[in-house]
Each structure stands twice: as structure tokens, then as C-alpha cells.
Symmetry: C2
Subunit: 116 residues, 2 copies
């Protein structure tokens, strides 16, 4: 699929996806939670709380809470790092992978449907 992405189309794409997320709020993730989720699923591990807090420029409790919430949804998992038991490593789950995959499909579908 080839698209000529211009500002209006880019924003329309973003709008359509935002609306889809609001409408079918399967989980009602905040922007922050989404940023955490996509970081975990798109960037190579390991992912620590401190590392993600630094990356997103938010406090550590904010990351902890985001993981609490998404962990409750089954979208991510946490395990102690056996090498350094102070660390907690964020792990992917099957359910989370499915969710992210569906989000990718949504972006593609919306991009395909853009008025070009």
C-alpha cells in the first residue's frame, strides 16, 4: 500500500484511530498507557520501570500504575529480574500481542480508507 501522506490526511488518520479507540473502548487506555504498551511490544527487551519512566519522561509511579492497570487487563505481565532482584522486567502476553496486532490492523485499514 502506498499513500501520499499529507498533513490533512495524517490528521484524518490520527482522528479516525482516536475515534475508534474511544468508541470501542475495549480497554479505554490513556495515551500514556498506550505509549507504554507499544514500547513494550515494539522495542526489544528488556523493559524496566525506570527505563520506561526515563523514556517517557514521567515518574516511576506513573509507569507502575499503568502496568497495574494493563496487567489487570492481561495486556502485560511483570517478573522480577533474577539477575538483579531490584529490577522488574515487563513481559509481553498473548492477549497483549493480539491487542497490538489488532491496533496495527486498524491503522492500516484506516490509512487504506483515506481520501487520497
Amino acid at each position: 500500500m502506498q499513500i501520499e501522506l499529507k498533513p490533512f490526511q495524517a490528521l484524518t488518520l490520527w482522528k479516525e484511530i482516536a475515534i475508534s479507540e474511544v468508541r470501542d473502548d475495549a480497554h479505554d487506555l490513556t495515551m500514556r498507557q498506550l505509549a507504554v504498551l507499544l514500547t513494550v511490544y515494539l522495542e526489544p527487551p528488556p523493559h524496566t520501570i525506570r527505563g520506561m519512566a526515563a523514556k517517557l519522561k514521567v515518574t516511576k509511579p506513573a509507569i507502575t500504575r499503568a502496568l497495574d492497570t494493563m496487567g489487570g487487563y492481561g495486556l502485560v505481565d511483570r517478573h522480577r529480574d533474577e539477575k538483579d532482584k531490584r529490577n522488574v522486567l515487563v513481559k509481553r502476553t498473548v492477549k497483549g500481542a493480539l491487542y497490538v496486532e489488532k491496533l496495527g490492523d486498524l491503522v492500516i485499514a484506516k490509512a487504506r480508507g483515506l481520501p487520497l
Copy 2:
């Protein structure tokens, strides 16, 4: 700009923008507020509270609150409809237009920087 948008790239784009929004939280808009904002700026008027509530499948108070918040930021404005004084019409502002324009630039910039 031409991009071959594949699932991983699409998600990476979405991730990068989500992170940018979280990082430089100029206004820290929620997904819902963003959906409202982009609807107002990308779709032809008029925009009523009821109409947007229906479009986003959320309750009217949720729209009212989103407009309260973004109105406080100066991103949108509200006026009574003189034709039917029950209605409130959501209006665009210069500040809001600038914000949306910058968001468009961000999407373009991130899309341009994707590993293709």
C-alpha cells in the same frame, strides 16, 4: 512523501506520536479530548454536543467536560446557536488551529523518520 505503510511501521508511527504527546504534554489531552478536537478541526461544521456524543458513542456530559477542559486551554470555543437556542455550536480558535497544525507536522515528521 511516499511511505510503504506496513503493520510494524504503522504501529511504530503511532507509538512515536503517543510518546511525543506524553513527553511534551503541552496540554496532556486524553484520547477522548483528542478525538473531539480533531473532529472539530477536520470535519465541516456545525458541531453540536449531541452530535459529537453520538459520533464518539459517549455520553453528553463527557463531551461537555472535554469542551470545558479544552476551552480552558483556549483550544475550542462555544456559542449558542441563534437559530435554535437549545443547541451549542463548537467553534475553532486560532490557538486550537495552531495546536492541530503542529500535531499534523509531528505526524509527518515521525512518518518521514520511519525505518522503511
